[in-house]
Amino acid sequence: MDVCGSSSPTLREFGCEQNLLSRPDGSSSFVQGDTSVLAGVYGPAEVKVSKEIYDRATLEVVVQPKVGLPSVRERAREQCVRETCEASLLSTLHPRSSLTLVLQVVHDDGSLLSCFLNSACMALMDAGLPMSCLFAGVTCAIDTDGQVITDPNAAQEKESRALMTFAIDSTERRVMMSSTRGSFTVHELQQCIAVSQKASDKIFQFYRDSVRRSQGLRWFPRQIGDESRDGTDVRDDPEHH
């Protein structure tokens, strides 16, 4: 069985925009290759008495598909995203309040759940909600030859015999959330987790860069893994003025 040859995982080119919507308290748009998700966060706001929790905030996640009404598949995704966010948010700082996270699918070209997680994290940051850690979503697919493909597109997902999405936390790089489809061996699972952890380093660096430059709405058209990052500040950039 062949194993993922390259040591550094290749992710599709991605981009992010924050604070693009005026009504939500925090919003973000996250694009991975052709997959694009728009996230909006409202909160902390008033909560219905039936839903309130006395010592923490109540987080509600709504996933809106591109076409049609939300179905059972969206509910399962909502549960995954909600529990990941609840684990990283310091919800005890906002008791008896509600936090609402709305995820709108703009285009689905594979790795949708990891795109949800990444856009959710950026939107929660944009809303200024207190978090104990950030999280990054990474999808791995195992194709029929046993190769591990990170960040697969829709065609690669369809051909794969196993598909796994992990949410990796920023503090200890451990697995916060795991959602899998298809069957695989324990060895393949460990490989995919290792690959996802490496990929999450790049995603966290991207979050950092993105927030630093969020005054200018910039896209990052270069492939992650570029060594040309030189740490210049956006204020020194002449074209920014």
């Binding site: 549960q79 200890e172 699972l189």
Partner: protein, 277 residues
């Protein structure tokens, strides 16, 4: 006095037991509750099974209906699982449309059926492009005391093994399918996926087979589904505290042990149901 302490400080109550490395119901941290299985109790269904893991009771009924195969896969049938959590099983479920937990459980079961290839959908095809079986697998929880997903999987697997579908022939002249209810055949089960659920307590302690109280106090839940070749069919961890690699490995090894026990149980029950005939 203990009952008062349990209601006022449930977390401390459980912690005091965990310090002694046991749980309020006397089990060890790695011990599963007694699992009992009963099959074929619903005579109107093509296959049925009732599972009890401790107090958690789940019933699965399988009905086969005829339909046209999907356009993009004319040689495949359908398997439609549905998990129902009625208000009967616990006060936390209200009457009305299925809540998030029921829908997420249904999606999980559907993913496990597809991922583990427990039944090949090609076996459900009767006439390519014209007629196929649709297996409606209705999984209903009768008593909710934690560890729903494991019970649902065992019930589904046992019901599928118990299911006997009538033979269907298509009348050449009238093109109408004829169902022979007397002549029934069992389904061909390729794999036997069995799940094991764990919770993480206080961000550090791993507990196997949680009850409903333990689930409500947990910081993370994990379900590992394995098949007889020690391949993983699902690793379901919908968020919560992060897990290290060793803890994950520990869960997987416990899941493989559990698989052997449950597989033996299912085979024993199916065997004993056949022998009186």
């Amino acid at each position: 006095m203990a009952a008062g302490f349990k209601t006022a400080e449930p977390l401390e109550y459980h912690r005091s037991f965990l310090k002694e490395n046991c749980r309020p119901d006397g089990r060890e941290l790695g011990e599963f509750r007694t699992t009992t299985l009963n099959i074929g109790s619903i005579s109107t269904a093509d296959g049925s099974a009732l599972v009890k893991i401790g107090n958690t009771t789940v019933m699965c009924g399988i009905k086969g209906e005829l339909a046209n195969p999907p356009v993009d896969a004319p040689n495949k049938g359908y398997i439609v699982p549905n998990v129902d959590l009625p208000p009967l099983c616990s006060s936390r479920f209200r009457p009305g449309p299925p809540g998030e937990q029921a829908q997420a459980a249904s999606q999980f079961i559907a993913d496990v059926i597809e991922g583990s290839a427990v039944i090949q959908k090609e076996d459900l095809c009767i006439v390519k492009g014209k007629l196929c079986w649709v297996l409606y697998c209705d999984i209903m929880c009768l008593d909710y005391d934690g560890n729903l997903l494991d019970a649902c999987l065992i019930a589904l697997l046992a019901a599928l093994k118990n299911a006997r579908l009538p033979e269907v022939t298509v009348n050449k002249e009238t093109e109408v399918p004829e169902v022979n209810l007397e002549n029934r055949r069992s389904l061909n089960i390729h794999k036997h996926p069995v799940g094991a659920s764990f919770i993480v307590f206080d961000d550090s302690i791993m507990i196997v087979d949680p009850t409903a109280e333990e689930e409500s106090l947990s910081t993370a839940t994990i379900t590992v589904v394995t098949d007889e070749e020690e391949r993983l069919c699902a690793l379901h961890k919908p968020g919560g505290t992060s897990l290290s690699g060793e803890k994950l490995q520990d869960c997987i090894s416990r899941a493989t042990t559990r698989h052997r026990e449950v597989h033996k149980l299912i085979d024993k029950v199916i065997q004993s149901a056949k022998t009186p005939k």
